[in-house]
Symmetry: C2
Subunit: 167 residues, 2 copies
Amino acid sequence: MQGALHELFLDELRDLYSAEQQLTKALPKMAKAASHPQLVQAFESHLKETEGHVKRLEDAFTALGEKPDGEKCEAMEGLIKEGSALIDRKGDLPDAVLDAGLIAAAQKVEHYEIASYGTVITWSTLMNHDEVTELLTETIAEEEAADDKLTMLAENGINESAMAGSV
Amino acid sequence: MQGALHELFLDELRDLYSAEQQLTKALPKMAKAASHPQLVQAFESHLKETEGHVKRLEDAFTALGEKPDGEKCEAMEGLIKEGSALIDRKGDLPDAVLDAGLIAAAQKVEHYEIASYGTVITWSTLMNHDEVTELLTETIAEEEAADDKLTMLAENGINESAMAGSV
């Protein structure tokens, strides 16, 4: 018999599954709204990774003998709404300022995911779901790398351009 | 004249102001739902800190000659809804499992705030708002410490109890 922590673990995985799926729809819009070529590329390559995260979660559910369907992740819905509100300002904001805002929005998303994956990895390890732990650990490493990449892009040019272009 | 990046900076600060205010209402409910005495205490002491974060944001707006009113932060609304859904399960879930879930929910909130404060600190530094940078830096240090405290509580007993009590 599986216990209550296992149920909570499945709930968190379903929440992440919804979050990652929502993100696969949001990232192409972010890539389209971005101007800096490296930022466009970062969003596009993170889209490919995110599709892989969806697949890994499906594999995790298979390994657990469960189905991934669940409720919509409301936190990710809110995060994406904030990004959409920013995208709607394309044309009104200088390109580099919009880019700086898109980075901020994307980093909130990455931090949300890092916190969630951190929790499920801890629980998965505790419950000895080794295969699932491995899948989730591969994903969190990509989320952390994506976050670092965004910081690097912000610090190596986009923020300065946003300053210069915004006065 | 202030530029577009400055406007975006103010938007982010207003978003954080809404987020922190929402959190002052959610934390007492989380403290009430928690069972482990140190977790109850962690939520209670973070409530006091969060009230301080609201005050610091008000001081930041004063320093910038602006008002803090703004739209409701939808991301924090979604994060809090997830926590509330968990609190509603009090009584159905073993105490330690609910505690583990509350820690997970709270860490998502902390990560959201850390990402947001990280962005506004970068922008504030870039625009030489030294007084504001200092206020925001004090807050992010407390958010990071709160996140670490939650990890420590999870790892030093709550997760193990959740395992033991959940089968």
